[in-house]
């Protein structure tokens, strides 16, 4: 069986459904990439989906009781417990004999890389049948841009006012170390790439993890209309690598597949200059960041060799 609902086709602009599962009038900021990706993600997953949302921007974006923008059931849970809640919901569904529902965690980077990592690691170790999507806006955005362990190096937040000194935590790498069947990275600026990764994820049983880079206009300090451009620049400069890892095999996807050669990447400065959060990064810092990016690429390319 391919997926519980039999999603087999490759998603194109035409084949994505016109049905909206994330309704207009939610409380997300204008130009929010997390909502953009969630809208596409729910189109790809369909109505037989249960979302588990810990404390994150997405719990704020749901607006005011008694309304919610989501047409699929959403379970708002504690910050540390998203994957554990998903395990419980999957177990309850199994007890009731319901097998055609996707259990999907939709957590921010704080709820994944910092606070929720123990429950995520636990669920991955047990191999619970769930999809975990981390939308990574690289800080605690809904509380006003505090640094998380997933904040990229050099980025200014309200708790790292001269730019973060430490490197970004490699959560997809941590998930690969759990040897779960599917790990992928995505970017909100490439919605069809993301939709097709979800398509592949639902065709596999077990814990599946997708790390989605999600540009944030107020937190990254750029005008709201530039969301798509910032995400594209992140990929085209090589700062964010799109890949998927299935059964020990890694494959570059989308524009990243043509960027293994460093000379084909756009200069990192293009990605940094468009955002206000890197205004503190001086040339020596930028050189250090470039070195880190090259290290990331080396690691991923090594994995791709198999």
């Amino acid at each position: 069986m391919v997926g519980h609902q039999g999603i087999t086709e490759t998603f194109t602009l035409k084949s994505l459904t016109d049905e909206e599962y994330l309704l207009p009038g939610n409380a997300a900021c204008p130009g929010c990439a997390a909502v953009m990706a969630m809208r596409i993600g729910l189109k790809a997953l369909g109505p037989r989906t249960v979302l588990i949302v810990p404390a994150c921007c997405m719990s704020v974006a749901q607006g005011h009781y008694p309304k919610t923008p989501s047409k699929v059931p959403v379970f708002n849970t504690a910050f540390a417990a998203s994957a554990a809640t998903a395990s419980g919901i999957r177990a309850a569904l199994e007890m009731k004999g319901i097998t055609d529902v996707y259990v999907v965690c939709w957590a921010g980077d704080g709820g994944t890389a910092d606070i929720g990592i123990q429950s995520l690691s636990g669920a991955a170790e047990r191999g619970d049948d769930l999809i975990y999507i981390c939308y990574d806006n690289e800080a605690y955005m809904n509380t006003g841009t505090q640094r998380s362990s997933s904040t990229s190096e050099g980025a200014r937040t309200t708790t790292t006012i001269t730019g973060k000194a430490e490197r970004k935590k490699d959560v997809p790498g941590i998930m690969m170390a759990h040897r779960i069947p599917y790990v992928a990275t995505a970017c909100a600026s490439y919605p069809l790439d993301f939709a097709n990764k979800l398509r592949r994820a639902v065709s596999i049983k077990g814990t599946r993890y997708i790390h989605l880079l999600s540009p944030c206009p107020p937190g990254w300090r750029y005008p709201s209309e530039k969301t798509v451009e910032v995400g594209r620049l992140a990929v085209e400069t090589g700062a964010w690598i799109l890949y998927e890892w299935t059964g020990g095999r890694c494959r570059l996807t989308g524009p990243s597949s043509g960027l293994a050669d460093r000379s084909r990447r756009r200069p990192l400065e293009e990605y940094l200059r468009i955002q206000g959060r890197f205004s503190e990064a001086d040339p020596s810092k930028i050189e250090a960041m470039k070195k880190r990016i090259d290290e990331e690429w080396e690691m991923i390319l090594e994995l791709c060799k198999g």
Partner: protein, 83 residues
């Protein structure tokens, strides 16, 4: 009456978000190539596409982020100041 902590899926959970807008996107249908990138990238889902491929915008909830105008390769969407 039993009050449950359960919300139902409705439009406008964050209020009439069209009120947030400073600039409104206006579609010039003569320039539109019906590529639907605006529909794909609209975070809010307020760009709608019809059976003939035409697009229109639901202004009640459009927050005016300007992404549709930015991704439009044919420059068929202009951002116009509200006041």
């Amino acid at each position: 009456m039993v009050v449950l902590p359960v919300s139902r899926g409705r439009e406008g959970a964050g209020g009439l978000t069209g009120m947030w807008r400073i600039k409104r996107p206006v579609v010039d249908s003569s320039k539109c190539t019906k590529c639907h990138l605006c529909w794909l990238f609209c975070p809010e889902g307020v760009v709608r596409r019809g059976s003939k491929g035409e697009v229109w915008i639901v202004y009640e909830f459009c927050k005016g982020c300007g992404i549709c105008a930015e991704v439009c390769a044919a420059h068929a969407i202009k951002m116009v100041r509200e006041v």
